[in-house]
């Protein structure tokens, strides 16, 4: 019995090292100078250039036109993440409320119209989506960045499941007390959903923050670049340079993964709950 325990720990330690070491190394290496990294390889201990590298990445004018800084890209990623999460919660709560709590003629049709969106991920319809967006003149706008991503059913699906689990008696009681649809929604349903809303908010924030393909297509103007778009940029500059700016690339990667890693670690239980409950 005792020996198997040690083996269990060994496997877990190896697994944890395999998963987390790259992140730790990325962080440590980002605090060294490019030349040092070039000659000595990746680093496992902190170097002395943390502040100047990050300051440079955050504030230096980059890109072709010099209009974008790391801080600006971070702000754009943040706008995308928060805008997407808020939009998703508002749209999907309203839609789920209508589907679960109202009797109306086209309920089943509306349900299917929304849920077929689960069938086609954005990746398979990028070309026509791009055409539609440029037709609407939404290239290089925050609207174009955020709103099309809202066209999916995931949030509606979560809230529908949740509303269905809310006890029937609440609505009966509310109706006896004379509450109408608006009052019931705002005074009963929204407060009840608080935890659910928080869980969905962080999941959706990370999802928005991590978007890559869509921002890449939608933004040609560097002022709208997100951090993910910046990563592609830095790799393109990288090809062909003598001593690539490894430290800056790593610093950008660290900035890009900081919020997702923090969110997962800090809100671990919510995150796991949101994921495993809603996918059922």
């Amino acid at each position: 019995m005792h020996r198997t325990r040690i083996l269990d720990h060994a496997v877990l330690i190896l697994g944890a090292l395999f998963l987390t070491l790259p992140v730790v190394v990325a962080f440590m290496t980002s605090s060294h100078e490019a030349a040092a990294i070039h000659s000595k390889g990746l680093m496992l201990s902190p170097g002395g250039h943390f502040v100047d590298t990050y300051e440079k990445v955050l504030t230096r004018q980059g890109g072709f036109t010099g209009q974008v800084t790391g801080a600006r890209m971070m702000m754009n990623s943040f706008i995308l993440g928060v805008g997407f999460a808020l939009g998703k919660i508002v749209l999907s709560m309203l839609a789920a409320y209508a589907i679960v709590y109202f009797r109306f003629r086209f309920a089943t049709l509306a349900f299917w119209v929304i849920f077929t969106t689960l069938l086609l991920p954005l990746e398979v319809r990028i070309m026509p989506s791009y055409e539609v967006m440029s037709g609407l003149g939404l290239i290089n706008t925050y609207t174009g960045l955020i709103v099309p991503l809202l066209a999916s059913a995931t949030g509606t699906f979560y809230f529908r499941q949740f509303f269905k689990s809310v006890p029937e008696e609440l609505l009966e009681a509310a109706r006896i007390d004379g509450a109408g649809p608006f009052k019931f929604f705002i005074d009963v349903l929204v407060p009840l959903s608080k935890t659910m809303i928080a869980a969905i908010f962080i999941i959706m924030f990370v999802y928005g923050w991590n978007q890559y393909l869509w921002p890449m297509l939608m933004t040609t103007d560097e002022r709208f670049f997100t951090l993910m778009r910046g990563i592609k940029q830095i790799l393109q500059v990288w090809i062909g340079s003598q001593i690539p700016d490894y430290n800056e690339a790593f610093a950008l990667a660290v900035l890009a993964m900081l919020p997702p890693v923090l969110v997962v670690v800090v809100f671990q239980s919510w995150f796991i709950k949101g994921l495993t409950e809603s996918d059922k």
């Binding site: 790259p22 190394v25 679960v100 109202f102 991920p121 398979v124 990028i126 066209a151 993964m257």
Partner: protein, 293 residues
């Protein structure tokens, strides 16, 4: 649905309107356009388009390059799915065995869950870099001269490692919550009946986890097919020539780089059918799972 419901002639439509508007404009319209333009040959200079029937599909499916990419996609998907599921399950079983007082492992193992595919790709590129990459040095020690970005096989290898790395935490979370949901009585009964813990796992525990495993199988196949786009885009650095790419990447390349709108659309529709089949499988399966839980 609920036994008691509101009935109002207008309100439900009002509540549904924003969601439906977004879906119709940004989902149905592009999807219909994709299907439509897959039957047309678009003039590259913008002078209209000609109806060509199934030519785009035939051209795509008979193209040896497309078939080679399809074959690579299948191998890539199979390997990524297998390794990320197997390692996720292994770690979940071990964490389940020692989890008491050991939330640290759990936190460490899921911490990288939400890292975006392109960031994973960038870190992967560094670890497989010619000059500074430790993996290249380890490979060199065993006499394997690794040239990621130049050699087809080596790039494929690195891409699979990165894609698996990124997906293990997801599978770990689901397997662990599946394991911890098993009733203690079942485990105790199994422990009395069967002394070998390995045998016990495969005959009692694993069959009980099968619903979770099947659900994850489909999620992982979808991940390997579509969500790895960022990993691939970063790792091939726009030089798809000698490098392995997947079908989704080919849609993007032909549509945006090659300006072959008809061909790209036909490929999109082919992928839509693949996703459609996967989703139907998933839904049928979810219905079944609800039955016996």
């Amino acid at each position: 649905m609920k036994r008691v419901q509101f009935s109002s002639p207008l309100l439900p439509y009002l509540f549904l309107a924003p969601q439906l508007a977004v879906i119709v404009i940004f989902f149905y319209w592009p999807s219909v356009r994709a299907i439509q333009s897959s039957f047309y040959l678009e003039d590259p200079f913008g002078f209209g388009s000609t109806f060509v029937g199934l030519d785009n599909y035939i051209g795509t499916l008979l193209n040896p390059e497309y078939l080679a990419i399809a074959r690579f996609t299948a191998i890539f998907t199979a390997l990524v799915t297998f390794f990320s599921l197997a390692l996720g399950l292994l770690l979940a079983v071990k964490a389940d065995a020692v989890i008491r007082g050991n939330a640290t492992y759990k936190t460490l193992l899921i911490s990288v869950y939400a890292i975006a595919p392109p960031v994973a790709g960038l870190i992967g590129m560094m670890f497989f870099d010619q000059h500074i990459g430790p993996f290249v040095k380890i490979a060199a020690f065993f006499g394997w001269e690794m040239k990621v970005g130049l050699s087809y096989f080596d790039t494929a290898f690195a891409m699979i490692v990165v894609a698996v790395w990124k997906q293990i935490p997801y599978n770990f979370i689901f397997f662990l919550s599946g394991l911890q949901g098993l009733p203690a009585s079942v485990r105790e009964a199994a422990a009395i009946d069967c002394r070998s813990s390995v045998k016990r796992f495969w005959t009692v525990i694993f069959p009980l986890l099968a619903p979770t495993a099947f659900f994850l199988l489909i999620i992982n196949v979808t991940y390997a097919l579509f969500d790895t786009f960022g990993v691939i885009d970063v790792m091939v650095k726009d030089k798809a020539a000698n490098n392995p790419i997947t079908l989704v990447y080919k849609v993007y390349m032909d549509g945006f780089r090659g300006n072959d709108i008809g061909g790209s659309s036909a490929q999109s529709v082919i992928l839509m059918i693949v996703v459609f089949v996967l989703t139907v499988l998933q839904f049928r399966f979810i219905e079944r799972r609800i039955h016996y839980t």
